[in-house]
Symmetry: C2
Subunit: 355 residues, 2 copies
């Protein structure tokens, strides 16, 4: 890419002309009222004469005034921030959760502060701290595993904490999620029901992705519960798991266990990668091998053959977390904190062509 600096006298002159941004005092002077009245005019639900408000609004427009919330929240002790930490923005599951949250917060005047942990609890810890510096009114985190200090920061934060996408054994406060292990087990049972016996699991190398680890654990549990003692696990690639990694993992899988009949992938993305590898090899799916994913990404319903997966209602996780958090914040504001809640979100095995 090439830099192409333009000299724009126009822009420069604007810069020079720039005067200090107007404050509420400027507006108050212009409208002939006190700043308190201006403050009231810009906020609804306050008692103010319509004429006065109109006059103030006019002054605001003439001056191009924009309310300064940093200042406001200092005295009101309400920042209007909600912090949310997700592993990655580039994963449509978490992006959906973020969207659910955003939608729930729509119109409430709350602004979402998003942070990306990169699937690392250490990064999460440092993000928790920098988020708390902004004094959010609630915080949403992904998963129930944190560093000891991260957990302590959450506990001492004095704000509602919501853990999502998981069912932690000892949650900080609230939880909105589902059992990844149980969902994964359901998928194993589905494959078993279809007659598959030599079932493999394709996941990432590390346990950084705790939900991925839970899914693997659920696979193992379900397999032995069904009397299928030989477990075939391929660990390949670090999260975020990509499509390409799914393809490579499939190659390794069939090298190591040529007899494999079905594979559960830790995510739809890797399932799709594996599916395309089969296409390339001219293998029929599910004839040569059955494939299942996790997450019900758009792709698994669209591709051919469509991929069997677990629908996990990511949007609902975010949306429910948002609504819960609104209630919790309301409780805090009225000095009536709500009790800890656990909201279970639905999931279901979506049977498609690939199994």
């Amino acid at each position: 890419m090439k830099a192409m600096p333009r000299s724009k006298s126009q822009a420069t002159s604007v810069v020079e002309k720039r005067t200090a941004a107007p404050t509420m005092t400027d507006v108050a002077l212009r409208a002939g009222v006190s700043t308190m009245t201006v403050s009231r005019a810009l906020k609804d639900g306050t008692s103010i004469a319509k004429e006065t408000r109109d006059r103030i609004i006019r002054a605001v427009e003439e001056l191009g005034y924009v309310l300064d919330q940093s200042a406001g929240s200092l005295s009101s002790k309400r920042t209007g921030f909600v912090a949310a930490l997700i592993p990655s923005i580039n994963n449509s599951n978490f992006a959906d959760t973020a969207r659910g949250l955003t939608d729930a917060l729509q119109g409430t005047g709350l602004q979402l502060l998003l942070g990306y942990t990169d699937y690392s609890v250490e990064k999460e810890e440092s993000l928790i701290e920098s988020m708390l510096r902004r004094r959010p009114e609630a915080i949403v985190v992904t998963g129930g595993r944190h560093t000891p200090r991260g957990r302590k920061l959450l506990q001492n934060s004095g704000i509602p904490v919501i853990e999502t996408w998981d069912l932690p054994k000892s949650p900080v406060h609230h939880v909105v999620g589902f059992s990844n292990a149980e969902a994964s087990a359901a998928l194993v049972r589905h494959l078993h029901g279809r007659g598959y016996r030599r079932i493999a699991f394709i996941g990432g190398t590390t346990n950084r992705d705790t939900r991925g680890a839970d899914r693997r654990a659920g696979y193992e549990t379900a397999m032995s519960a069904l009397g299928l003692t030989e477990s075939r696990v391929i660990s390949f690639g670090t999260p975020p798991i990509s499509m390409r990694q799914g393809g490579e993992a499939l190659v390794r899988l069939v090298e190591q266990w040529p007899e494999v009949e079905a594979a559960i992938c830790v995510s739809d993305l890797s399932a799709f990668g594996a599916l395309m590898e089969c296409h390339r090899r001219g293998w029929n799916v599910p004839g040569r091998i059955a494939l299942a994913g996790f997450g019900d990404f758009e792709i698994s319903g669209t591709c051919y053959p469509a991929i069997t997966t677990v629908g996990v209602h990511c949007y609902d996780i975010g949306n429910n977390a948002g609504e819960l958090l609104l209630r919790a914040i309301e409780g805090e504001r009225n000095a009536q904190p709500i009790a800890s809640e656990t909201i279970l979100t639905d999931y279901e095995v979506i049977v498609r062509e690939s199994t």
Copy 2:
């Protein structure tokens, strides 16, 4: 989903015990210094004795104190916020741009405020305003089309403005982008070079997605430049364009113009949807019809046949915008505003199996 409220006496007791969060004054008292010294201890690049700092840090840890930036930024006049508006979080292209931005801001102490416009300039306007209320130190927007008031808000904001993903004719300040029309035209020329003549364009119904509209315009221009007078445009579905819409659009396309030899889709996602529709029909791609996408999403390189597309370096757009913005903020802080810059990001036609 089922609600499952748990009564947790443990959580409740924590709530009751909760005392007012410690302030810098508490830390100062405990460490036997003034608040100013505490403030210096928590900021690097300040002159402070190592022993004093250690003592303060200890007090901070004992009290579980977390700096309050809202208060800090009021007096320092630096909020440490950067606002960025993207059309959708659920589009991996824009998510990549957001990630590029996030990465560029990493370690600078700047916090990204993300907003989603839903491809609507009206929503953008209201987001610009609510972002400005947080007094960001710079703002990044997607595209060069805004409402008149939105544009005015940007101009009068007094902070550096960066428009991305486009090359606006009269930019507010800085630009980081590329010509969508030119990129689209390059794709037409590629198809022409391969011998295709009856080339169609599949896009959305509205012009809300201005980049989509630019791509269509580029298609039209390139077609007539090549002497291909009959343009075949399918407009179907509102942004964000989904895979499914691509499939349906293909159906309409071949109904309306059965003779079509190749189709350019406004995005890889719709190209993939179209490709899968071909699979279902047992059509060979590119034998029966050639397909090309836009954006170089991961899927287009992984699927089979792999899809020809335009790689647009989304991450770089965000990353370059981030670096530019850091320089611009630095300039503002030193009262030496930088001149408006336009950074052209690369794009290239990536030829794959589908054409």
